[in-house]
């Protein structure tokens, strides 16, 4: 995915992000990519999909795919608890769910905290340094769509 106008603007002026944990690391989506945060619903297995897509869930009357974030990032598997949830992201007006360990916070990011990834079209678009922690800001489309 090439750099969008939205990305350019984020780099210049900063913006809000939704950060979350997976395997003790911080990741984030831009707040504008996120439409909902919900409990993990019943997920219907769909044959023929790669491992990291757990299946489809019924989100407000629509069947949308659900990605297991740990599997997608090749992180060790874990048992999801009651703090785990699904972040619903919107990609070109198509929704998809992403299961994460735990949602952290909505944070305001200033331009000087942002470093663009040197790799064009990578899964992580920006690296954000905030006090002591490092947050990887993700491209939702790469998270859902990409085959490794």
């Amino acid at each position: 995915m090439a750099f969008t106008e939205q990305d350019m603007q984020f780099e210049e002026t900063g913006g809000k992000i939704l950060s979350f944990f997976a395997d003790n690391k911080f990741y984030a989506f831009m707040i504008t990519d996120v439409t909902d945060i919900i409990e993990i619903p019943e997920i219907t297995f769909i044959p023929g999909l790669p491992d990291y897509i757990k299946g489809m869930m019924n989100h407000r009357g629509k069947a949308i795919p659900v990605v297991d974030f740990r599997k997608r990032m090749a992180l060790p598997e874990t048992v999801y608890d009651d703090r785990s949830c699904v972040i619903v992201v919107e990609i070109n007006s198509q929704q998809a769910g992403v299961i994460v360990d735990r949602v952290s916070d909505v944070e305001d990011i200033l331009p000087d905290m942002i470093a663009r990834s040197p790799v064009e079209g990578a899964t992580v678009k920006f690296f954000i340094s905030e006090s002591k922690k490092r947050i990887s800001l993700l491209d939702p489309e790469r998270v859902v769509r990409d085959r490794r």
Partner: protein
């Protein structure tokens, strides 16, 4: 810059649709009347009206070229209508009419493309005018309208009691403007945004004489506004506006005259009333006469999108109703539910009816697509002199509107091919001893959930050897020639880059058409088949699934998944005994059902679903067939026989071969769970009987 009047974009769809429809009808009339000696009065009136309407609406859209062309044709029929005895060259007239109709259609097609400039029809218009002049006899000189500007007395425009804040403008239109009243109407609409229009002269822009009045005296607009400059600018920018000016009240003299006119004596008033009465009487008599020939159709036009929405809604209702009446909560209630059940049945009956009637709204007879072919055949007969007759069978077959739209192009290609390649020249036919007239037959009908449209010609048929030779030349052969079956050979004719016609004609021969047709049909889940018999003729058959978004399915359990098989594909569901199960040494599994040995497809293994029933006797068998293929599907158990709305998978999953694996989409059931819709054709694909005829 768009070609049509700014602010009319919202009307564009309507204009294109209506005008297209009118031209379609015009073609029908022309086709019908071409063979007759004279054109009936009714038809003349109809053509006249059609052209008049097109002229008006094109002018409204600011499409000057279309408007003047329609005007020219209207003039022709004005002459014919006025003098039914008038002599004219009928084939010549029809040539002009068809040419005009085609030009207008072409312009409609290009209207949305700003890169294509408005076509200049003046050459055609010239021919029409010349034709009209010939009809009238050279004696009638060109009508010269003495619309010379006079020093007009404008004082009558300013009644004494008029408010000071009312400004008066005069708009003059260019002389070649076809319908200034329509232009004026558009102008007023736009003006409404920057000023309040209090009155206009002529008052009624719809009136018949409004055009002449505007041509003679200009359009007078009275309005109240804060920004007089802006109004003037706006008026000057209007299409075809030659001059726009503000008029000022003339002094004294006019003012003196005005009250005299404004206050008539009682005598005059009485006279006026009587006169009015006398005028009203014959007018009343005339009115019904005028109205009689107008057939008001009780039809309305609806945006297809709205219908889709309605259909979606109905689908949701059907499903929600199911979830209410069979709610699991009801199972826990021990009380008597008789009345509830009765109402539930009533509701189901009503929703079923609702669903049927919504579906039927979208259904149109295929004849709309077939009729267009009349024109194709006519044009080709004219050029190729093959004298082909076109016959329809089952044209009343109703199909979804979207299917008719899909059919238009393929039918056109196939019909052209049939006439151009299929039907021989009269000499060839005579030499072959064929006495029956050359005929192309279009037929329509239903077959197992599909619409079947075929185009049959009684022409030369296809020459197997010739096709093979050509295929070889074009490098299309993939196995030895002798191994090709007839069907496979004929299929070459619709493959890419194939055409047996040595010379390329205007209509066909480039070999691009058919494979595009085939691709387009396949895109919507349809099929294109060819069959032929040398010397007897060929048949092209299009099969397209009926686009019904709600389908009846049998949902089965496999492991934890619910899979839904379309009822249309299922012949029977049965439990199988061990003795009817066969496993051959290669590991293939079969089920003996009566005299048939059918391949067994275990859905759990096909889809890699875990924790499913493996034991043949404890599961359920579904004997399915689709097209030429049959097999038995094996599932754990039957969940329900229900109706679902299959929605395609999210585009985000387009990278994965879900469709190829045999899943057409998924559907959310009344209880919120998700079932997967199966595409039996894909699942059975490996078991298609090798076609050898």
């Amino acid at each position: 810059m768009p070609k049509f009047e700014a602010g009319m974009e919202s009307m564009l769809d309507m204009f294109v649709f209506e005008t297209g429809d009118l031209l379609e009808k015009l073609d029908d009339i022309l086709m019908r009347t071409e063979q007759e000696d004279t054109i009936g009065t009714e038809d003349i009136n109809e053509i006249f009206r059609t052209m008049h309407t097109i002229k008006g609406s094109a002018a409204m859209m600011g499409l000057q070229n279309m408007s003047t062309l329609a005007h020219a044709v209207e003039d022709l029929f004005y002459i014919i209508r006025d003098d039914p005895e008038v002599k004219y060259d009928k084939p010549g007239l029809y040539e002009l009419l068809f040419a005009s109709s085609d030009s207008l259609k072409g312009e409609l097609d290009n209207i949305n493309d700003d890169d294509i400039p408005l076509t200049d029809f003046s050459e055609l218009e010239g021919r029409i005018h010349a034709f009209a002049a010939q009809m009238k006899g050279e004696s009638a000189p060109a009508q010269a309208q003495g619309a010379q500007a006079q020093a007009e007395d404008i004082s009558h425009l300013f009644p004494d009691d008029e408010d000071e804040s009312i400004l008066t403008y005069k708009v003059t239109y260019q002389e070649n403007c076809a319908m200034p009243s329509a232009r004026g109407f558009v102008l007023l609409r736009g003006l409404g945004q920057i000023a309040e229009v209090t009155s206009t002269l002529p008052e009624d822009l719809d009136a018949d004489e409004a055009d002449d009045e505007i041509k003679a005296h200009g359009l007078i607009i009275k309005l109240i506004t804060d920004d007089a400059k802006k109004v003037l600018e706006f008026l000057e920018d209007g299409i075809n506006v030659e001059k726009a000016e503000q008029l000022h009240k003339p002094e004294k003299t006019a003012a003196a005259q005005a009250p005299a006119a404004a206050a008539p004596t009682p005598e005059q008033a009485e006279k006026a009333v009587e006169q009015a009465k006398a005028e009203a009487a014959p007018a009343a008599k005339q009115a019904p006469k005028k109205a009689a020939p107008k057939h008001e159709q009780s039809l309305i036009t609806v945006n297809l999108e709205k219908l889709d929405q309605l259909l979606d809604l109905v689908a949701e209702i059907v499903i929600t109703q199911g979830s209410v009446t069979s709610s699991p909560d009801l199972k826990g209630i021990s009380a008597n539910l008789d009345r509830f059940n009765k109402s539930a049945r009533e509701l189901k009956k009503l929703t079923d009816e609702l669903q049927d009637s919504v579906m039927s709204i979208r259904m149109v007879p295929v004849s709309t697509a077939f009729q267009k072919m009349n024109r194709v055949i006519r044009d080709m007969n004219q050029k190729l002199k093959k004298g082909v007759t076109l016959e329809f069978v089952g044209e009343e077959t109703e199909v979804d509107k979207s299917i008719v739209d899909i059919l238009n192009d393929p039918l056109m290609h196939i019909t052209r091919n049939a006439v151009d390649h299929g039907i021989e020249t009269p000499e060839e036919r005579a030499a072959a001893g064929k006495t029956e007239p050359p005929t192309v037959t279009l037929s329509a009908g239903y077959d197992s959930g599909e619409v079947v449209i075929s185009c049959r010609d009684n022409g030369a048929g296809m020459d197997r050897a010739k096709i093979l030779a050509k295929a070889k030349k074009n490098g299309l052969l993939t196995k030895p020639e002798s191994e090709y079956t007839d069907k496979e050979v004929y299929a070459f004719t619709i493959a890419a880059g194939f055409s047996t016609n040595e010379t390329i004609t205007e209509y066909s021969g480039r070999g691009v058409g058919m494979d595009v047709v085939k691709k387009n049909i396949e895109k919507v889940g349809g099929k294109l088949l060819v069959d032929s018999q040398f010397g007897v003729g060929s048949v092209f058959t299009i099969r397209i699934p009926l686009s019904l978004s709600i389908i009846d399915v049998l949902s089965v359990q496999v492991g934890k998944n619910s899979l839904s098989v379309p009822i249309t594909a299922i012949h029977e569901a049965f439990s199988c005994k061990q003795e009817n199960y066969i496993k051959d040494p290669d590991g293939n599994e079969f089920i003996m059902l009566r005299e048939m040995c059918l391949p067994l497809i275990r859905l759990n293994r096909h889809f890699n679903i875990a924790d499913a029933v493996e034991d043949i006797e404890s599961g359920i068998m579904l004997y399915c067939s689709e097209g030429d293929a049959s097999a038995v599907l094996f599932a754990d158990s039957i969940i329900a026989d229900q109706q679902i709305v299959v929605k395609p998978f999210s585009p985000l999953l387009s990278d994965f071969p879900l469709k190829e694996a045999g899943m057409s989409g998924c559907s959310i059931l009344g209880d919120g769970t998700i079932t997967i819709g199966l595409d039996v054709k894909e699942i059975l694909a490996p078991y298609v009987k090798k076609a050898d005829a």
